[in-house]
């Protein structure tokens, strides 16, 4: 995964990362994994994160994807690869956990052509 550092006109992955962390914390921070509500949580996380990102910088197309997994000893591995403009486009991934679950959120930002 590329570490895309902030420059004028490029994706600020640190800012996005912080926004996403706050988002996750506010939605599932104190919760325990529950089969019947995990559906709502992932939906809320992606929607709220997307809304926050669009408010910050409108000149990008965004894709936010979120995976929530119960902690039960299973192995999980994720990977992303992107075919895009490496100067203007960027991504960031946030890994979060509490006592009962893992949450991995990836944000991809693709510059809108003016």
């Amino acid at each position: 995964m590329e570490e895309f550092s902030g420059e004028e006109g490029s994706f600020n992955s640190e800012e996005a990362s912080n926004s996403v962390k706050e988002c996750i914390q506010s939605i599932i921070g104190e919760e325990s994994y529950r089969q019947d509500t995990v559906n709502q949580w992932t939906a809320k996380i992606v929607e709220q994160a997307l809304t926050l990102l669009v408010k910050q910088t409108k000149s990008y197309k965004y894709i936010v994807s979120c995976a929530v997994m119960q902690k039960s000893g299973a192995g999980l591995h994720t990977a992303n690869s992107c075919y895009w403009d490496t100067v203007t486009d960027g991504s960031c991934t946030v890994k979060w956990e509490n006592r009962t679950m893992y949450c991995v959120v990836s944000v991809f930002a693709v510059a809108l052509t003016p």
Partner: protein
């Protein structure tokens, strides 16, 4: 999903892409059992090979491919994604694959340039 597409050459054809991804995962993992020390290679191989195949299609799209590989042991997993893009041109597709010991979920997002 709506079928609105400009033309065959410039469209994101979900069926073609699904086939490409399924073949890639089948070739990379196939009937292998989940192995902690190989999983790294598998996820990398799936995303890289998929991306290569997609770029060979020569369509005017930027692509993002994400892959999740999960060991089957009863754990719950839920994924979601939301996109802020051009609804008329941009598309995504998700392929879910499994064998006896492993689940693999691959998402492809295509953004028109």
């Amino acid at each position: 999903m709506d079928e609105f597409q400009l033309s065959e050459e410039t469209a994101f054809v979900v069926d073609d892409i699904t086939t490409i991804i399924q073949d890639t995962v089948e070739t990379t993992i196939g009937s292998s059992a989940y192995q902690q020390n190989r999983i790294n290679q598998w996820t990398s191989s799936v995303v890289e090979t998929s991306l290569n195949q997609l770029s060979k299609l020569g369509k005017p799209f930027k692509y993002i491919v994400t892959c999740i590989i999960l060991q089957k042991n009863g754990a719950g997993l839920h994924t979601a994604s939301s996109c802020f893009w051009d609804n008329t041109m941009d598309r995504s597709c998700t392929v879910r694959w499994e064998n006896k010991t492993t689940y693999c979920i691959v998402c492809v997002f295509g953004l028109a340039v």
